[in-house]
């Protein structure tokens, strides 16, 4: 029994909950139609929207604001939560590419794998992915004042993790989720090549004992984790473990490594302003 089903045990009679079937008569709705239904539900003051049988519909949660919860049963399409500013989206399953694209605030929780380019240019909010992710995760995420984007990946990531990173936190745990519900260490490399290439702010934290110096991208450097950083990530990891039913004690079995920029201006010396 995992959280998925716990979350699913909602009470329909609660006034502000609505269920929307994304595939009435087994025919998946066009994304425009589905999103229009979501907007209608919001207009009618529904605070919790449950989507049934989602099948690749894009832009769910696009630019939505405020106190709102969307539970997606099925497979949301690209650009899940694009430009989102506050709501919470939970996906019971995998999702496609570009989840949390240019997100300003809010939470996206994926009970499965995610595709490529998760959290592109996100300025704030949290994206928690239970299992593995693809390429260019957390590319160009930024931070600003109280905004601090956090991406946590339970499994492993591929190449260009945190490319152009300009703030925030990316955390990769390197776990594997067995069919029987047990959680073990992943047998895959925790990240791909050109890790943090062009990073000029923020940090990437990997849970691994392996040496990955060769994978570092331009401007990225490996540091040992400090006490302050350990304290910073602890509540997020606890929250992550709680959401995805991960026994917290497994986390401490491997050390954390921190990747930070060498400088704020990785390519500063690359240009010349001489008067010609």
């Amino acid at each position: 029994m995992n959280n998925t089903e716990k979350e699913g045990a909602f009470k329909l009679e609660e006034k502000n909950i609505i269920e929307i079937n994304a595939a009435p008569n087994n025919k998946p709705l066009n994304y425009k139609v589905l999103n229009e239904k979501i907007h209608e539900a919001i207009k009618n003051n529904h605070k919790k929207i449950i989507l049934k049988d989602v099948c690749g519909q894009r832009f769910i949660g696009a630019s939505l604001q405020g106190d709102l919860e969307i539970i997606i049963n099925g497979l949301p399409g690209n650009d899940l939560g694009i430009f989102m500013d506050g709501p919470k989206i939970m996906v019971n399953g995998n999702c496609e590419d570009h989840a949390g694209n240019t997100m300003n605030d809010g939470t996206i929780i994926i009970h499965g794998n995610a595709g490529d380019v998760v959290g592109l240019s996100a300025r704030g909010g949290k994206i928690y992915i239970k299992k593995d992710v693809g390429y260019r995760i957390g590319i160009h995420i930024k931070e600003y004042e109280s905004k601090y984007p956090i991406i946590i990946i339970g499994g492993t990531a591929k190449d260009f993790l945190g490319e152009y990173m300009a703030g925030g936190l990316i955390l990769v745990l390197g776990l594997k989720f067995c069919l029987d519900g047990t959680v073990i260490e992943s047998d895959q490399p925790i990240c791909g090549n050109l890790l943090g290439t062009g990073i000029h702010r923020g940090k990437i934290i990997l849970r691994t004992e392996k040496d990955f110096t060769a994978k570092l991208g331009v401007g990225a450097k490996i540091f040992e984790i400090s006490e302050a950083e350990k304290n910073e990530i602890e509540p997020f990891i606890k929250e992550f473990c709680d959401i995805f039913n991960i026994p917290y004690d497994i986390i401490s079995k491997k050390p954390f490594k921190v990747i930070k920029p060498i400088s704020k201006r990785p390519f500063g010396g690359n240009y010349c302003g001489q008067i010609i």
Binding site: N78, I82, D85, V117, E143, A166, G167, Y271, C272, I275
Partner: protein, 506 residues
């Protein structure tokens, strides 16, 4: 750098010792550090001078003149001074050379080889002062056709079934191009937005976000979604008249952007929503657009995010294959398409790209217009053309070649006082235009600048009407793509062929 490798200066600052009052005003006005006072007299450092003319204008005794450095290099027709300077600069620094404004190479301008038609006998010209000539434009996507249903029993009952798509009405076929707060100053932005609202034309935000002070002008602003997504939030999407996805820029096709951290002061930080002092890097591509269907997806995402209320467009640089790319973009759902020619401006771009990449806007627009027509897509979209629309003649010619709207930036900056010294990327603009330094920004009076922009475009629009009148056309819609009214007098018949314009005399 050893003295033996100093690059000879272009300019020589002449201070007339007799009329110089030694008030030292020039030394405070020169933001490039070319002028100083040594306790006895004004000292000029020619190597730092960019000929921005600030000192010349500000000297109360009119004692300063900037002249060409007469000490010239041994002449060589192939290894020009420019090429030698490039080589010296690179061998001294080892980096990619930066540049600003548009391509300054002396490449023949096609606009100058085009002549306009006028009415004689077979139809009358129109007096634009006393009779109506219309220059209003609908900015956005149009349906291919309107569907009218006539009632079967009562033929006077007619229903217009087609719902009109979001279109923005502007009073002149003019858009001030995208210049971000960052590349230009707050005062410059404010003057541009105020003038745009007053004139009811459009202005681009650039990709630097939209400062809350500018929200009230949002109904005349097209915000830009570039690869860096700076300052993109709900307000940015919802306050604007339209949104443009920037794929490329004429001055630097295929290149990203880079606002150095030192320019990111609290104002820029607030607008771009990044911490003070941090570099603002725009990745080379959009990392959610690796292919045409991804672009269609981003267009769709923006339409979803704005609930289909504003037009969403795409800007590309004019490159070799602009025509098929344009078709893909229109098919991808763009409501407007902006093409930026190779002479288009920039606040900072690698010189190698600015000077050598892309194609002229005249050819690109002609090719794109023609290709969109072949696919029967042209009339559905608004086609915006930029990349050195220098004055009203260029505006008129580009519309006759097929553009709906002409986009320009440099004329606006020049109207405000820019002397085209081409040092924008250094952030030291002595006229308060391309700088973020408080003491320099203050130099640009918003009211004066705004009025000068208003005057400029008022004059362009009047000149457009004069030409339309002379052509016997009373609405700018009938000039668009009316290549019949252009003739070519340049040396290359192939150009005329691509433009679809006959040679003069034909």
């Amino acid at each position: 750098m050893s003295l033996s490798h100093n690059i000879p200066s272009y300019f020589h600052i002449k201070v007339d010792r007799e009329s110089c009052k030694k008030c030292k005003r020039c030394t405070t006005h020169c933001s490039y550090g070319a002028l100083s006072f040594n306790g006895e007299r004004i000292v000029a450092d020619d190597s730092k001078c960019v000929a921005c003319q600030r000192c010349v204008v500000m000297c109360p005794g009119s004692a300063i003149r900037i002249v060409k450095n007469e000490s010239f290099l041994p002449p060589h027709g192939n290894y020009t001074r420019r090429i030698r300077n490039i080589l010296w600069a690179q061998s001294g620094n080892g980096g990619v050379l930066l540049s600003a404004t548009g391509n300054d190479r002396p490449i023949r301008t096609i606009f100058d080889d085009l002549l306009l038609d006028a009415c004689q006998v077979t139809n009358p010209s129109i007096d634009p002062l006393r009779e109506t000539i219309e220059t209003k434009i609908f900015f956005g996507r149009k349906p291919k056709k309107l569907e009218f249903l006539t009632d079967k029993k009562d033929s006077t009952k007619i229903t217009l079934k087609t719902e009109f798509m979001p279109n923005f009405e502007i009073d002149m076929p003019i858009m001030i191009g995208h210049m971000s707060l960052g590349s230009i100053s707050y005062n410059t932005c404010m003057a541009i937005y105020q003038a745009s609202k007053e004139l009811n034309i459009l202005a681009g935000s650039g990709e630097g976000g939209l400062h809350p002070d500018f929200y009230e002008y949002g109904s005349n602003i097209i915000t830009e979604i570039a690869s860096g997504r700076f300052g993109v939030d709900i307000n940015y999407l919802h306050k604007a008249a339209g949104i443009e996805i920037k794929i490329g820029q004429g001055a630097k096709p295929g290149h990203g952007g880079h606002l150095p951290g030192e320019k990111v002061n609290s104002l820029i930080s607030q607008t771009r929503m990044i911490p003070k002092g941090s570099d603002a890097l725009s990745p080379y591509p959009h990392h959610d657009v690796y292919s045409i269907e991804d672009l269609a997806q981003l267009i769709a995402a923006l339409k979803e995010a704005t609930r289909y209320k504003v037009p969403i467009g795409v800007k590309i640089a004019a490159v070799h294959n602009s025509a098929p790319i344009a078709v893909g973009i229109v098919r991808g759902g763009a409501d407007f398409l902006t093409i930026d020619g190779f002479r288009g401006g920039t606040g900072a771009a690698p010189r190698i790209i600015r000077d050598h990449a892309g194609i002229p806007i005249e050819l690109a627009i002609a090719a794109v217009d023609e290709r969109l027509r072949q696919e029967n897509l042209r009339d559905e979209i608004t086609l915006v053309a930029g990349g050195s629309i220098r004055y009203s003649a260029d505006l008129i010619k580009i519309i006759a070649l097929g553009a709906d709207v002409a986009m320009c930036c440099m004329p606006v900056l020049i109207a405000m006082g820019c002397r085209v010294c081409q040092q924008c990327f250094r952030g030291l603009c002595s006229w308060g235009i391309a700088t973020q330094q408080e003491y320099l920004v203050k130099r640009l009076d918003i009211d004066v600048a705004r009025n000068r922009i208003i005057n400029l475009f008022h004059s362009w629009n009047e000149e457009l009407k004069e030409v339309l009148g002379a052509m016997g056309i009373d609405s700018v819609e009938s000039l668009r793509s009316n290549r019949d009214r252009l003739r070519y007098i340049g040396p290359n018949p192939k150009i005329a062929e691509i433009l679809g314009v006959k040679h003069a005399g034909e």
